[in-house]
Structures are given as structure tokens and as C-alpha cells.
Symmetry: D2
Subunit: 362 residues, 4 copies
């Protein structure tokens, strides 16, 4: 009988519990193995060892729960970990300590579920001799090695529902509504939910925008009788060099508290200046991460979990599971990390958006 361990790292994401359940039902139920859950991501192998038994009962009823029953952590990166020495903080690679702690719990293999950061750690641990299998998780859909990841579909659903809501209020009040959504590097959430939610303007990190052209587009729309406009802005979008975007709000961030004034507020401020219309800003923030996963994400997370167990059964380590077309396949961790899936600025979907009459800021 094998013993395997599983941990979830990075920002939480709808579908993580589906992965955990898939791992446990396949490993325990079908293979007769034992599964140990490591708590709070790699923290659970660093600042002490925090584990819990994951039997079939432990995963009952979690398929439709958002978040992760194991907890997660954005802090505990063993490749760059704060160690106090001589009264000073040194940032060190403490991977070998993770390996030691991992060995002490008596597991034969580890399934690490996480984004680019977590997968890099997984790759490092694999190089150090650990039996590691990775499962990609990125709510932004910004990983190149898989067609899509779980969580993304749910996030697009949350944003679309919000846009549906904001449409009616924008229309009733003849307003411009600026909606800031997730996406630091990749604008997929903004692009797809913008198409799905009937946005008039979509601003992506991949396409620097001209605020002047945005205003012109809204003005044109108004002249044709459109009495409101919906602008979707990815948090990583930015104006073209040389354009003035109000910057004060960036100074209002406070340690520990999320910045509330971001690119959305800046864009709203600019539109207020160039057009004589009421403008309102909505920052969707954490709403996009939480809640019941969509069926798509439940299924994908489940398949990923089962596939990861398959890889362990085959002794096929250093791999990551991925979706390609209709199939769940595997790829090497080495190939998977560090390669971002950005929105092609002249790809089919961007072109489709422009043919629909959506303004992309250029």
C-alpha cells in the first residue's frame, strides 16, 4: 500500500476541492492507498509539519465547495524563504528542509496543486529527488501548458453575472460603468467575460490602451443612441506610453488592506474628465475567486485529480497534468513552468471582439 500526500498552494480557486476529492476517491477508493493532506500549502512542510488524514469520509460533500479544505498560503515559498540569522532576515532556498519534512511523514509521492510559483517549487523538489506530480491551477488561465485550468470558467461566470446586473442599472441611469476584473498579465477573464457580458470596451494587459480613443468610442456610441456603456478593465491593463492616467489613487494603498483604487478607478476618472456622463466603478476583487465551482471546473478538477493519481501509479514523476482539446494528458513540469498564456493581440478571439464592435483600447 502506497501513501501519498497532496497540498494546495497559491491563491484559492474554485475546483481545488474537486481535485482533492478526485485524488482521494481514486487513490483510497480504487487503489487502496492512504492519502495525507498537507495544510496551508508548503507552509505545512516548513513552519512545522501540518497534516491531516484524507479518507473517503473527509472528502464527502466538498465537490461543490469553493476554496480548499486544506488551506493555502501565498507566503511560504521554500525557494525564497525568510530565515533569521544574526538578527537579520536572509532569504534562502530551504527546499532541502521541505524534502526532509516530507520524508518524515512517510509519503511515497506528493501531488502539488498550484500556479506557476507552486509548480516551480514542485520542479525543484523533483530535482532534489522527491516523487512529485503537479496539477496546474490559475484562475487567470495564464498557463501555456494546458488549454484551460479549473477556476477560470467559474471566474468568467461571476464576472458575466455581474455585468448582466450592471447593464440594467447602467441603462436605467444612462451611466458609464467601469468594471475592474482579475488579470495581471493575461487578460482572458476581461476578454471572455466582456464578450459574454456584452461589454462595449475591454482593456487588457496585452493591448496598451489610449484613453482618448476609449472616450471617442463611448462618445460615438452615445451619438448613435446608446445611452450607457460598460467598460471592462483587467487589473493589469495600462495606458499607452505618454498618456496621462490619474495616478494618485495608486498612492492610497495601505499595507495589508487591498488597494481599492486601481486601474478601474483611474480609467473612470479619465472618462469623467473627457465625457459629460456619470461614471461609476465596480471592483469585483475577491468575488471572482470564491464560491461554488461551475460544473466545468468541477469536472476538470476531478479529472486532473484522477490523472495525477494515475501518474503516481505509473511511477511517472516530474510531470504535470494538462487539458489538450478533449483529453487530459501529461507534460513535464520543466516545460510547464515559466511559459505564460497571454491573449494574442491579433488572435482570433480579439478579432472576433472587434468585429462585434467591442473597443479594445487601440
Amino acid at each position: 500500500m502506497k501513501t501519498i500526500a497532496v497540498l494546495t498552494g497559491g491563491g484559492d480557486c474554485p475546483g481545488l476541492n474537486a481535485v482533492i476529492r478526485g485524488v482521494v476517491r481514486s487513490a483510497v477508493g480504487t487503489h487502496g492507498w492512504r492519502v495525507i493532506g498537507i495544510e496551508d500549502g508548503f507552509d505545512g512542510l516548513l513552519s512545522g509539519i501540518k497534516t491531516r488524514e484524507l479518507d473517503l469520509k473527509a472528502v464527502r460533500g466538498i465537490l461543490q465547495l469553493g476554496g480548499t479544505i486544506l488551506g493555502t498560503s501565498n507566503h511560504g515559498n521554500p525557494l525564497h524563504y525568510p530565515v533569521m540569522e544574526d538578527g537579520e532576515v536572509h532569504w534562502m532556498d530551504v527546499s532541502s528542509q521541505v524534502v526532509e519534512h516530507f520524508n518524515s511523514i512517510g509519503a511515497d509521492a506528493l501531488i502539488a496543486v498550484g500556479g506557476d510559483g507552486t509548480l516551480k517549487i514542485a520542479q525543484r523538489l523533483y530535482e532534489l529527488g522527491m516523487n512529485v506530480v503537479g496539477i496546474p491551477k490559475t484562475i487567470d488561465n495564464d498557463l501555456k501548458a494546458t488549454d484551460v485550468t479549473f477556476g477560470y470558467n467559474t471566474a468568467v461566470g461571476v464576472v458575466t453575472e455581474a455585468l448582466d446586473r450592471l447593464h440594467t442599472t447602467a441603462e436605467s441611469h444612462h451611466r458609464v460603468m467601469v468594471v475592474e476584473v482579475m488579470g495581471r498579465d493575461a487578460g482572458w477573464i476581461a476578454l471572455e467575460s466582456g464578450i459574454s457580458g456584452g461589454a462595449d470596451v475591454i482593456l487588457l494587459p496585452e493591448i496598451p490602451f489610449s484613453i482618448e480613443k476609449v472616450c471617442a468610442a463611448i462618445r460615438r456610441r452615445r451619438e448613435r443612441g446608446g445611452r450607457f456603456s460598460i467598460v471592462v478593465v483587467a487589473e493589469g491593463a495600462s495606458a499607452l506610453d505618454g498618456e496621462q492616467v490619474v495616478q494618485e489613487s495608486a498612492n492610497n494603498r495601505r499595507g495589508g488592506v487591498d488597494r481599492l483604487g486601481g486601474i478601474g478607478e483611474q480609467v473612470a476618472g479619465q472618462i469623467t474628465q473627457c465625457l459629460d456622463m456619470e461614471v461609476r466603478t465596480v471592483v469585483l476583487g475577491h468575488l471572482q475567486r470564491g464560491g461554488t465551482p461551475s460544473p466545468f471546473d468541477r469536472i476538470l478538477g476531478t479529472r486532473f485529480g484522477v490523472k495525477a493519481v494515475d501518474l503516481i501509479a505509473d511511477g511517472d514523476f516530474g510531470k504535470m497534468v494538462a487539458l489538450r482539446g478533449r483529453s487530459v494528458v501529461s507534460t513535464t513540469l520543466a516545460e510547464a513552468v515559466g511559459s505564460l498564456n497571454l491573449v494574442p493581440a491579433h488572435g482570433e478571439m480579439v478579432q472576433a471582439a472587434e468585429k462585434l464592435g467591442i473597443m479594445l483600447g487601440r
Copy 2:
């Protein structure tokens, strides 16, 4: 054959279209009258006359649409209207002009749908001899004359769904999540959605809060193993006199752009200072107004619309429709306006919340 007119004033609210549809189907379909829709609230009778015909076809498919097909306006208050004279703006009561414009469209009676402001105008017009009937609309549920208004139920639903979502992400990351919701004077949305969404702390306008006690409550919860907390704050909540609440953010508001930093951000800042936990803020804002009305609001809006037509058929003017227990009744506009329905600070629902272990800031 009678001709009647209908307008919607103030902030938009799920269920307004159900009202309009109820009015039209009853007036046109059953009574054989003609219905004229006045656009953009009282604006449609002030800055020119903006109307549209409302026949049965015009209200098809609108029952489940949020907002109002007639548009609304927060600006056009005829009791206090900006008039240019000698190069200066004077604020004047231009009600008599509204009456004139109204008479010119040839309607026998007006149904005015709106909040306290709109109903006050309606009462004034009634005093000036117009045949007016009012329908109350307040998303905050802050009108005393009716047990409940449409829109409120939908808003509580939106907030509850958001709290459900934020729960899973708060739990996964061991965070304090501060959620700012609507409610300037009355904290009903915060109180009911807080109970419904399993909040740990609820801060209402009616109960000035001690931030120290809030922090103590979260600390106590953490010591008992609760690794996250959900704090719901009504936008009108405020700290007890003498307590320091960070105030800078209030200065960050910009004309035309909604303030993003409000009481929610302030409370989050304070909690960050008194507790060593990650705190995140979410401002639900306009999400609470928009979108498909809940069945409760569709039914109540519909019944209100039908009842208003009944009152006109009976020549019973100067009245407002209201819900009492299971029945839709009428009351005088005079009684209805100016009397707020606040959360009783020691009422049954507040006591129930406290017995559940929810902290109300005192």
C-alpha cells in the same frame, strides 16, 4: 376611456419593470385604458416632455429585467430645481410647471414610483390638484409605511450570494473579509444578509460601533479555532464618538466617480492595526441594485402596480400602496413620507443575531 401616466424616480431597483408591467396589463388589458410612460423620472416632465406609449407589447418580456425601461433620474427634483436667472443658479419649486406639462399630455392620473423623495413630490403635486397615486420603492427597506418594498429582497440575495462566495476564500486564506453593503440610514440589508450569509460581525447605522470591541470579538473567535471572520458593514455605519477611525480615505472621493474607499476600507484599516491577520475589503456597490428581480420582488412589484390602477379606477388619489402582513393595502401619501423604518437597536431581529453569536459592534 381613461389615459394614465407612469414614471419611475430615484435609484433603480429590481422590480420596477414588474410594476410597469402590472400597471399596463391591468390598465390596458383589463380596463381598456391608455398608458403613457414618462421617461427619466420627473425629468421627463421638466426639461421638455419625454414620453412613450406603453401598450401590451411594450411590456412583453420585461418582468424579469432589472432596472426600469422608462429610465430614472436622481437629479430632477421639481421641489428644488436649478433655474438660471440673471446669470445665477436659483433653486426653485417648479411643481406648477410639472402640473402644466402633465396636463399637456392629456393624462387623467399619474402613478409615481419612487422613494421618499419621489413620494414627497407626488404629495406636493396632489396638493396642487393632480390625480396622483404613489408606489413606494426603496432598496434599503427604510420606508415605515409598508412592511417591505420590492428590490430589497433581491439586494439581500445579491449580498448573501457574495458572502457565500467570500466565505470559502476567507477560510482558505485565514483572512478577515470586510464587506461594505448599502444602507445609509437603515441597516436592514446588512443585518438580514449578515444573518443569511453567516457573518461574524455586522455593523449598522443604528448601532454606533466600537472598533476595539470588534477586534476583541475577532480575536476571541480566532482563539477558539475560527481562522477567518466575515465583517458586514452598512455604508452608513459609524464608530462611537471618541473612537479614532481612519479618515483619510474619505478625502479620496472624486467628483463623478464613486468613492471606493468608504467605511468598509476604514474598518479594514483599523482591524489590520489591531490584529495580526490579513484583511481584505469588498465594496458591493452597484451590484446590489442591478439584475433580475427575485420572485418575491416580481410578485410584490406586480401587485403594487395592479393595486395602483385599482386606486385610480376608484378615484382614490393622494394614496400610496403598501404591504401589510399578507395584504396589499393603501395609505395616504401624507402619512407615508418622511417616516423612516430603522432597525430597532434592541428589537427581535437584532437580539436574534446576538443570540446567534453575531457581534453587532457594541
Copy 3:
């Protein structure tokens, strides 16, 4: 320290877990009592004693779960219980045995959550000297002693959502869609969800219908350009005496399997015969009972649970909690049972429906 027990009887209903959580958080958290959960309704005090400890942890995360964590039973009616004697089944009142079993678990009082049947048993046990408090539960909203019960709002929501869905498919295919919903004696679900979901015809148990008039109404609607119709039928609706309604389908029921062919199918069959239109039937059945409770039901269930604990704290037994207007109050069990809340055939809501142009079968 007191020990109290709680059980849930009859058909399941969204909001039962909110009640249980409200009871436990108030009794354990605020009063410092102990709470024992009795499993599977009165079965748990009859065929053996089945209980479980309900501490604060046991009710975590259940607020948004449908059903009841305690289980329920439609069978174990102690007032009419099958006892084998001399090889024959005798139906007997075994209430005294329930009292005995109840005394053996050492609880000071019982909270019984259920419909008319459960409340009658509660009243009987109270007469036998048990400290009983009742909480009404009826998804049909057919209890007179309370303005409304939890579960009903969720059910109306499920039906409305289904009607929204069926509208688009009916319209695309120019069909008549017959939708059978819950309501054996009281037609509230059919009436309210019919209004909310834009039904064209609503058939209630309280108003015997003429199929001829139903067909005439659909024909008239079609002549005016309405290319589809939605007919909502309560399962307890029936045709006027003398009218022929196809009856074979009633004979197709099989023991243990729900009848699939009921009044909905009969009405559909009749419409097919009198009109040359495609007719489809949908039986919503168990979908109406399950799933996440609406905020309204979570709040009402929670308040009921807290109030029941209040009554026990006051030693106020033989009572049932109820909603009146905006307040949760108490009434005697004796008054509460046996008095049905039917739809008044000429009440305000029925009249409103008819003024909207909805056909009620007469």
C-alpha cells in the same frame, strides 16, 4: 445547565438546517445548554433511540445546505403506528412510548420542527406532559397560524426559474408548456410562481377549472399573436364536476415509484385534444424541495430556531413560533394545528392575477 432535543419531521424543506443551527448557536453558544439531535424525525424515538450530539462544530457550514442533517421520516407517526400483534398489524397510538424514550435520553425539552402532522404529535406529547415547542414547516405555505413558513420562498424560486427557462423554449417552438408544481390542498406555489414566472394559465386546488375555458383562453391568446402559452398546474388542482379529464394516467402509478403522470399530464392531454398545438409537460417534483435555501428562508428558519429556544428559556411550552407581519411571535400548538391557509378564491392576489390577464380556469 439544560439539555434540549430537536427533531425534524415530514417532507424535507430548505431552511431546516438553518433552524437547527439557530437552535444550537443560541442554546449552546448563548445559554450554555446541551443540544441532542434526534435522527429521522419521530422514528428516532420509536424504532430504537437514534440521537447525535449537536455542538457548535456540528452545525458549522450547514446554513446554506438544503435538507436536514438530522434526517426525517414520513412514516413514523406515533399517533398511528403499526404494531404486530397475533400476526396482524394493528395501528396504535404509541405516544407514551415516545415519552418514555424521550425521558431516557435525559432532555428537559423538545423542539419539534414539522408540518401539520408533526405539530399534531407535538401537541399530543405536550398533553402527555412533555415540554414541547413546535416550529412550523410547510413548503406549500398552507398553515394558517403563520404568515409564511421557510422553504416556501425557495420553492417559489425554483418554480420561477423553471418557468423562465421554459418560456424561451416554448416561444422558440410555439408550444403550450404545462408545468405541474407542488400544492395538494393549497395553491400558493402555483399562484405566486405563476405570477412571478409570467404564466398565462394557473390552475389551483381552490378553484376547480373548466378545461373548455382553458382551451378557449389559449386559443384567444394565439389569435392575438401569442404563439406559445405557459400553464401552471398545482398537483391538487381538479376539473369542474361533469368535465371529462383523461383518467388513465392515474392508473399508471406504481408502488414505491412516484407517479409521473398526474394532473399535469391530464391537462396536457386535454389541451392536445382541443387545440392544434404542440403541448409538452414538465413535472417539477422533488426539484422544488431540495437545494440551497433562499436568504429569506435562511433568515426565517434562523429566527424560528432562536425563538424556540427563547420559549424554552421562559418555560413557555405547548407553543409554536410564527411570523406575523415583521415579527416572530408565538401561538399555542392547539390553535396552530388543523387550520389550513388556502388561497382565497376571490382574494386580492387571485384578483390581481386575473387583472394581469392570467386565466385561472374559471
Copy 4:
């Protein structure tokens, strides 16, 4: 300026309006063409010519509407059309008449949106010289030429939500719940929604089932403490040869009225006989077709619509649009038709389901 026409054929499907809107916004808004909508599928080119102008205004607000604003028809198959001759009905190929009617409306090209049947007609018309482009539509996801079609994702969502609901009621009452879902030839909806909704047994058309083994699985589950079971049955599932499945219910179908007793009821009947548990059946039927399309389906439908216009702009006729991986591509109509996408009985997803402990009837 070109003039193009668009029609929707076959069963309605969420996302059809997104296609129509995508076609119009791209063709009218970007290319400056004219778009004619043909009503009720090929009926609109057969029994008279029924068209309507589709300008930008005609498609406002339809993105989130289920069904099709153009109407559809299951009857008007021009390859097999009833023609009265000498008092008898002859079934004839009347394609040439469609071509004639089409030519008379002055359109340069036709976009035909539909399933296998519609696409076959499109291919025939193309062979007769018409400029035709096809867009695949199949709610069952049973077309081989595209990775997935719009509508399918929404249907899986509806079924999953129903399973979530039924779970809680099944659990509270310790029942077996049999849920019949769409899927005559292909079991994708049953398989994916079964995985997503946590089903215990899934029966597909592609895997003939043994009712004995189904009963054994449920019995085993019960022995391990699982007090309820969820069985998902595709409408096209069937028992292994030689097994007795109750057949009477099949005889209860009535002309014009949907059969309510189908495979779901049969399976429920069998389980009732072999196990001593309460069994309930729910037939989801038309609920799976209707309602607001999911974001996935809105986006896919929109992209398909835009791509079809691209093909016309390129003069690339006789083609069908399709999704492959992340890209929308084109394929020939000839290749697309007649090739079904069935669930591979030993493919990755079926194996994943079995590793999760789901019973597939074998």
C-alpha cells in the same frame, strides 16, 4: 453591399441568440451588409416565405436570452417533405423549392444553424449551388466535427444544479433518486453532469447496463453507510440483452404529449423491486434546453457567428465552423454530417468516472 440570411433549425438550444447577434453585429456593424432572418427554420422557406429584417437594434439585449428569436421547427425537413398529390401524402425532396424561395428574397448567402439534420439539408443546398455556411448546434454534444457545441455547457449546468438539489432531499429521506436526462445516442450530458453532480450510478446509451449490477452497487453503498444514492440515466440508455426491464410505461405515451414514463421510470421500477428502499424519479426534460445561456455558450455561439460571417466574406462556402482546442476553425459540411461523437466506452473520462467509484452499469 452583400445581403445574407440566417436561420435556426432543430430543437432550441441556449446560445442560438448569441449566434444570431454575432452574425448581425459582424455583418451589419463591421461589414456594412444587410441581414435577413428566416423564421421557423426551413419552414420559413417552404410554407410561404417568412422573414424579418435583422438590424443592430433587432439583436439588442438578446445575448442572454435562451431559445431563438427566429423560431425554429422540427418538422420542415425539405429533404423529406409531405406533399399532397392525388389525395395522398407523398414524402419528397423539395430542396429545389427552398433554393427558389431563397433566391426570391435576394440574399447572397445563407447561414444555417442546426444539428445533424439541418447540416445535411445545408450540404444538399450547397450541392444545388446555394452559398451556404453551417453552424453546428447540438445540445447533446454528439457532433464529431467540433470539440464542443454551444448549449451543451448550459445543459450540463442545469442538470448539475438539479443533482445538487436532489442530493439534499435524497439524503434527508434516505432515498434512491433516479434522474433522467437528455442524450438519445450520446451520453455526454449524463456522464459529465453525473461527475459534476456527484452521482453514484450513471447509465449511458454507449454502455448497456445490467440492472442487477446497478442494484448490487447501491446495496454495497448502503452497507458502507451511504444512506442514499443518485442514479443518472440518459434517455437513450438501455439494459443488456436478456435483462428484463419493465416495459409497460413505454406504452403510455400519447400522441402530442411527451412521454413522461421513460427509461428513468423503468430503472426506478426495477430498483424498487430489487432493493427495499424508497425510489423517486425526476425527468428533467425541457428544463435542459431553456433559459439563459452560460458564459461559455454565449462566447462560443458569438465566435461561431462571427466566424461564419468571415467565411462568407471569404467566399468560402460549403463549410461549417467548429471549435478545435482553443481555436474556432472551419471544416467542410460534407465531413461534418453523419459522424457522431459518442462517449468512448473505455475512454479517459469513463475510466476517470469509474476510478471515482461511480458505477456505469457494467
